[in-house]
């Protein structure tokens, strides 16, 4: 049995597999499949200051080896999360990451302040949601805006701060460096790639929001490339995600530069995906005489 534990920004995870925000709610549903302590952590559904109802349906469409989604940050608001869901989550013996999104920098700061007084283990700054009209990704697409929001939230955030990056940018490495320089403790990446599908008969986009975020196996090579590029630009740890479906993908993402991983879309075809990936990684490490999963991180030998 290899050591699967990892440490990100001072927080210890039993294993590097974290449920990705937006695919796992606040954990209750999947806890009906397996105890959540089998996961290293849970990145909760993105929360906002006030309740949001999200976009009208359809909110999902299947694409080759992936899906488009545009939920639009439906959530009950930060106070409901703190009062109704967090106490339960904290009993599940897994790392709890609150994912926050806002319309303004002030809203992000207010939420960071509220959550700093709770038992959440980490805060993930969602500046990469492509499916809301204001806020979300608008804060995540230039070095200046990433620098500004990271620095501002840092002033109010007493928890380890993860900045979740959008892949819909020209130079993700410099954006990651801006987050690091302004107080981010870790980077998580990648959020979804913006995409679109159209019904050729009705000529209507399949997703009511017209565009959506692409995830699933289709985006995996893009995610690996970006994690590798960012790992060459920052010293803080990277939580890698984007289409990881198998333990082989997980190993590859860590070798590219990730210190931990988030699993999202793979859960929809197999609810046990993160558990199976964790088991597969363990066997891979044992078979190769590797004692700790941390030994995989950033061991790519580039040409």
């Amino acid at each position: 049995m290899a050591d699967l534990s990892v440490k990100i920004a001072g927080v210890s995870f039993n294993n590097p597999l974290i449920a990705a925000s937006g695919t796992f709610g606040f954990g209750r549903e999947y806890s009906e499949f397996y105890p959540l302590e089998k996961l290293g952590g849970i990145s909760c559904k993105g929360i906002t200051l006030k309740r949001r109802d999200g976009n009208p349906p359809p909110r999902v469409a299947e694409t080759p080896s992936g899906i488009l989604n545009a939920v639009g940050l439906q959530n009950p608001g930060v106070d409901v999360f703190i009062n109704d869901d967090l106490p339960w989550l904290k009993k599940q013996n897994t790392v709890v990451i609150a994912n926050i999104a806002g319309n303004t920098v002030e809203e992000y700061c207010q939420m960071a302040e509220k959550l700093s007084e709770t038992d959440v283990d980490m805060i993930e700054l969602n500046i990469s949601c492509p499916n809301v009209k204001s806020g979300g990704v608008q804060f995540g697409t230039s070095c200046e805006s990433v620098a500004n929001i990271t620095a501002e939230v840092r002033k109010h955030c007493k928890k380890p701060l993860i900045v979740k990056l959008s892949p819909n940018v020209t130079d993700i490495a410099s954006i990651a460096a801006s987050a690091e320089a302004n107080g981010a403790d870790a980077i998580s990446m990648i959020n979804t790639l913006t995409g679109m599908r159209i019904d050729i008969n009705s000529r209507r986009p399949i997703i009511h929001n017209n565009t959506g975020g692409l995830s699933g196996a289709a985006v995996f090579p893009v995610a690996v490339r970006m994690v590798w590029q960012v790992s060459n630009a920052v010293k803080i740890p990277i939580i890698g995600m984007g289409g990881i479906s198998t333990w082989e993908d997980a190993a590859e993402m860590m070798i590219a530069g990730a210190s931990a991983l988030q699993i999202g879309t793979a859960m929809f075809s197999d609810p046990y995906a993160p558990v199976k990936i964790s088991e597969g990684l363990n066997k891979f490490l044992d078979d190769n005489g590797i004692k700790s999963v941390t030994e995989l991180t950033k061991t790519v030998i580039p040409w």
């Binding site: 549903e29 499949f33 909110r59 469409a61 939920v71 929809f268 609810p271």
Partner: protein, 250 residues
Amino acid sequence: MKYDVRRLRLISNSQIADGIFDMRLEMPREGFSVACGQFAHVYVPGKTLRRPISVCDCSNGELRLVYQVKGEGTSLMSQMKPGELTDVLVPLGNGFEIQKGKRYCLIGGGIGVPPMLYTAKKCENPLVITGFRNESLVILQDDLASAGAETVLVTDDGTAGEKGFVTDVLRRKISEVDEVCACGPTPMLRAVAELCKSEGKPCRVSLEERMACGIGACLVCAVKVRKNGEEIMQHVCKNGPVFNAEEVVF
């Protein structure tokens, strides 16, 4: 643990009408119960999303799913062969609540008919009204009759049964029943719901929406409902697929 992924052996998977397939899967006879109106979430090898299919019947160690080939996923489903192990998440969602001593009218439109077979089996002497576009799409008439239902068949073009819509029949016979359960296209459900409301009959509708997780975590299969005067988003997979028609914002 409430949920589990089951690997069920496929008994048969044959075409029963134009583009409509009847899949039968081996079920454990004990320690397992499915309510009428619940659904199964079927894994299709090679696809990112499972396909949610309403339960058509669940008896004698057999789970029956009758589905329409609509796209790539269901097309692949239709090619699954007897003997294969099929990965199914079942049962999911909240079905129709059937009470003793009440007479139900079950209404199915097109591919909304299959869940009404299992529902009919749970009712005493139900009235089942089924509607299809034309004769080539008619399914499950013998099964419904064998389940002891009084059946009325309608088609849009009159090529089978009466010519007309399910609501034409419902309007005529609504006084004979206590409650209505319906599944089918949204315009049909809206018309059924309006008729029931004006006649003062309770009505439940089974809804469909593009779905991902199937358990209420990912929030994609949203449906707007009115609760305590406020419009909120609920989800077909977890809060439904069966909803109180009066609460649905069509």
